[in-house]
Each structure stands twice: as C-alpha cells, then as structure tokens.
Amino acid sequence: MDQYSSSLVDTSLDLTIGITRMRVEEDSTTSALVEELKRVNAENKKLSEMLTLMCENYNVLRKQLMEYVNKSERDQTSPPKKRKSPARDDAVSSAVIGGLSESSSTDQDDQYICKKQREETVVKEKVSRVYYKTEASDTTLVVKDGYQWRKYGQKVTRDNPSPRAYFKCACAPSCSVKKKVQRSVEDQSVLVATYEGEHNHPMPSQMDSNSGLNRYISLGGGHAASAKGSSSLANKHVTTVDLTESKKVTSPSRIEFPEVQKLLVEQMASSLTKDPNFTAALAAAVTGRLYQ
C-alpha cells in the first residue's frame, strides 16, 4: 500500500491556462518596481536636501556680494577711492545675473545692477573738471563759481596727501550735482574742481541783477582762460579759470563791464559839467597843455 501511495504523485490534469504563473511573474515585477521606486524616492529626498542646503549657501553668499557692491557704490558716491577693474565688475555682474532663474529675487537684483550701471554711465558722461588759479597764499579749498554749495566732507589719505573737499549743490534740494575741490599736485596755487552731474536749476547769480551777476561774469565770462583737454580726460569737460583776477575786479577802479563803465562815465560827466570850477580848471589845463 505504501508503495502505491508513494507512486501516487500527482494525478491532477493541470488544466489551468497559466494564470497562476502570470500572477507570480506580475507580483515579482511589481515588487521590483516598488523597490526601484523606493530607491528613486530616497535619492529624490537626498537631492532635495542638497539643493536646499546649496540654495541657502548661495543666498548667503549673494547677500554678502550685494553688501559689498552697495558699500563700494557708497564709497564711489562720496569720495572716489580705488575702483574695481571693469572686468571684475562685469564678471561679478554676470555671475549674479547667471543665478537661478527660479528665484524671484534674482530678477530684482538684475534690475538693480542694470540700473546702477546705467546711473554710473550717466554720471561718467557728466563729469567736468575746472582748474581755478588762486593766490599762492590762499590755502582754502573754496571755489566761487556762482552756485551755492554745502560742504559735506574733507579728506586726506596716505596715497593722496593733498586735501580735498567735497561739496553738494545747495541751490535746489533736488539738484544732485557734487563737486570735489583739490589742490593740484603739480601747482599748489591751482585748485582742481571736479563736477559730477548737471544742475537742474538756473544759476542763482543769473537771477540776481547786481553784485552776484558781476561776480559770476568776472569769473566765468571775463577771465575764463582757454579750455584745455588731456588724453586721459577725453570725454570730460576741462576748463581753466583764473581766480586771482577776481580779487582785482572787486576794486572799483578795475570794473570792466561796458554797461557799468558807460553809466559811471555819464554820471561823472554830468556832475562835472555842472560844476563851474571844474570847467574853469579844465579850460586852464587844456590851455596849459597847448602852450607847452
């Protein structure tokens, strides 16, 4: 009986169409997919963490760069110190511009940098330099050019021992013109005034009709010497003005304006011709000359 039972192996006919085997295969595929999905999800999580960390570091670094740029901009607007090379500027800008496109603040930074570059370009175009000849004994850094200025700083540095004063136009609150006055290194009697920007108001002395106008004309019109340019300042306006002459102008005997001269001569003539003593003295003088 035992040998019969052992010989009875499998008497079923196995009439199924293989559904069980397919299910087994499907199960194995699904489990493989699930494993793969788990692995990819873990990788995804790790990459996300790395990206977050990297973005944080990048933002910290960019903030430092912005502070550095702002600081250098402030330094440029007050006393122009050592400038970065343009190549470095471009490289830094491009590095910032090439930032993540996903970051919304990057666009604002780009706009800020572009705006800053535009402003710098405008300022560069409107820089003019005027040389004022002064008395050798005059040690002040004051240039009388017809505008009112508010002094906001004076500086001496080791690399540039010649003192320089910084002024801002005080004629109009909205006027952003700045002036730097410094003695020339070659000739200490010459004051070099560097103007930045353009006045958005008329010259105050032009509105006055009396002394202010005369003073301005004596400086700007009467004694403006020839404008001279240098190769390094090809795009800058360079003028030379002799301030030593302005002091001579203040004495009444040296007034050189045709209108004033004419008026004075007429007044003198009318007052003298009314004086009989003057007429007699003049006649005597002329007669004496003729006899001589």
Partner: protein
C-alpha cells in the same frame, strides 16, 4: 501596495524626471555658488 505595475512605472518615471530636474538645478546652483565664492575671494 494596491497599485498596478503600470501605475508604478508611471510613478517611477515621474520621480525619475523630478530627480533629473533637481540634478540640473543643483549643477546650476553649484556653478553660481563657486563663481560668487571665487569673486568674493
């Protein structure tokens, strides 16, 4: 667990493409970070 194989494949493709994007972003951030770092030095 109840997802079918096709759904799993779809999910796998989605996560894979997401991974690819993250890797690209990471490469960009790395590049910019080191450029900034270099300039600040």
């Amino acid at each position: 667990k109840d997802k079918s194989a096709s759904e799993l494949r779809e999910e796998l493709n989605r996560v894979n493409s997401e991974n690819k994007k993250i890797k690209e972003m990471l490469a960009t951030v790395y590049e910019n970070y080191y450029a900034l770092h270099h300039h600040l030095e």
